[in-house]
């Protein structure tokens, strides 16, 4: 059975300021309104969604986080969340009563080594996450790791897999960096060729470890519609109450395009926004088919997130960085 999930950005606030985080996205003070969250819970199941994932920002910073745990659990949804782990010693006891609905916690691990992780995420962030992981092990809370591949950590992929396995993680997911101006000024991004090299390492790791190792959508593939959002198996709501085409597009800084924002739940009913998303998805698929059938696909367009960043005009800023290997691959208007 395919589970369908809703990714809900509870807040754009974050206690960390990671170098690879989307610019301006997590330096704010916006929280999803509880009444919007309540409406989502009331309506999502009618459209076949049975799983809720809290994202952010740092979702545990939402002032109503504890209340939301109770709401989602009582509404009968399975749930999980992505966290940097910093607040886990403070909040873990609130989770335990809902452990029958908690499918797992995803910790953001950005280096096998303390110095690498802290270089990207800030001092002590590695040890704070290890405290969180320790609690999960003792309290039997399932957890996985998520790693954004950058130039800082690309040499530690095997080490990260070994670390995750030894720590008792149920899995490890790697994902490519979503580029933005800050990542360029700090040389965090990988070229298309370097991305393919890292993917080859990850595919190899899949065959050598018992622990599940996956890549988040965005890797090079000839499948035109490889990801959960395009299959309508996953939809995203940002902290403003916007239903968006994908969480990786939402709130992208220094961009011009906002066509990925489908509708706002403050202004329309959930079912109406969902209907618009279905329509937008069909148009996207039709457009992609057309481009592909007309032979206008570049090799880089087989990186699905790169394709979407172009489609929704999120990477026009790359023209200011002509030496960036992706710059010449940006679609012309």
């Amino acid at each position: 059975m395919n589970h369908r999930g809703m990714l809900i950005e509870l807040t754009n606030r974050c206690n960390l300021s990671c170098h690879h985080c989307l610019d301006r996205r997590h330096s704010g003070d916006g929280d999803l309104k509880i009444e919007i969250f309540e409406r989502i819970l009331q309506n999502a199941r009618k459209h076949g969604f049975d799983y809720i994932s809290f994202t952010g920002g740092e979702p545990t910073l939402h002032p109503g986080f504890t209340e939301m745990l109770t709401m989602v659990s009582e509404a009968g949804y399975n749930f999980g969340f992505v966290t940097n782990g910093w607040n886990f010693t403070r909040i873990y006891e609130k989770l335990l009563p809902h452990s029958n609905k908690l499918t797992g916690i995803t910790f953001s691990l950005d280096g096998a080594r303390e110095e690498t992780h802290d270089r990207l995420r800030g001092r002590d962030s590695y040890r704070r996450m290890m405290q969180a992981v320790s609690i999960c092990v003792v309290k039997d809370v399932p957890f996985t790791f998520n790693t954004v591949i950058t130039s800082y950590n690309r040499g530690e992929l095997k080490e990260m897999a070994g670390l995750a396995a030894k720590l008792g993680s149920r899995g490890l997911r790697f994902g490519h960096l979503i580029s933005h101006p800050r990542t360029e000024t700090e040389y965090l991004g990988l070229s298309p060729a370097e991305r393919k090299e890292t993917e080859a390492i990850i595919w190899q790791l899949q065959n050598t470890l018992h622990m599940p190792i996956v890549m988040a959508s965005g890797y090079y593939t000839t499948d035109l519609f490889p990801c959960a959002p395009l299959k309508m198996q996953e939809i995203s709501v940002n902290w403003r109450g916007n239903i968006t085409a994908c969480c990786n597009l939402s709130g992208h800084g220094e961009d011009v395009g906002n066509d990925d924002i489908i509708g706002n739940l403050h202004e329309m009913r959930f079912s109406e926004a969902y209907g618009r998303l279905v329509q937008a998805n069909r148009k996207f698929q039709k457009d992609k088919h057309t481009l592909y059938n007309n032979g206008k696909f570049k090799d880089s367009d087989y990186f699905p997130c790169w394709y979407c960043l172009n489609y929704f005009r999120k990477v026009d800023w790359l023209s200011y960085y002509p030496e960036n290997p992706w710059s010449s691959l940006v679609w012309t208007k």
């Binding site: 303390e114 405290q131 003792v138 309290k139 720590l167």
Partner: protein, 100 residues
């Protein structure tokens, strides 16, 4: 084997997490080098805290007699046994010098 007047200090590579267990406070130790976990009950946690404060096993034993209803012999035995186990697991290191 650790001696009563010998200093032993927690390895800086150990991440300590205190949490509420079914029988009171407890702690989980994670060694970042070996990636091994080790749990301490409330008594073990007190020993760890006192090691971290720089006390020798003898000084910990004296403190234990004030805090717990335990005989001096039993206190010393329990403390030395735990510290030896922590040394074996590379969670604490024996200092080179001896206490005065």
């Amino acid at each position: 084997m650790i001696q009563l007047n010998q200093h032993a200090t927690p390895d800086p590579e150990v991440v300590v997490t205190e949490l509420e267990g079914l029988e009171g406070k407890e702690a989980v130790l994670l060694h970042l080098g070996t990636k091994m976990y080790f749990t301490l009950n409330e008594t073990g946690l007190r020993i760890w805290q006192m090691l971290n404060s720089g006390l020798t096993p003898e000084e910990i034993s004296e403190q234990f007699l004030k805090e717990f209803d335990i005989s001096p012999e039993k206190a010393k035995e329990s403390i030395l046994n735990l510290i030896d186990e922590l040394i074996t697991e590379k969670l604490v290191k024996v200092a080179d010098g001896w206490s005065d």
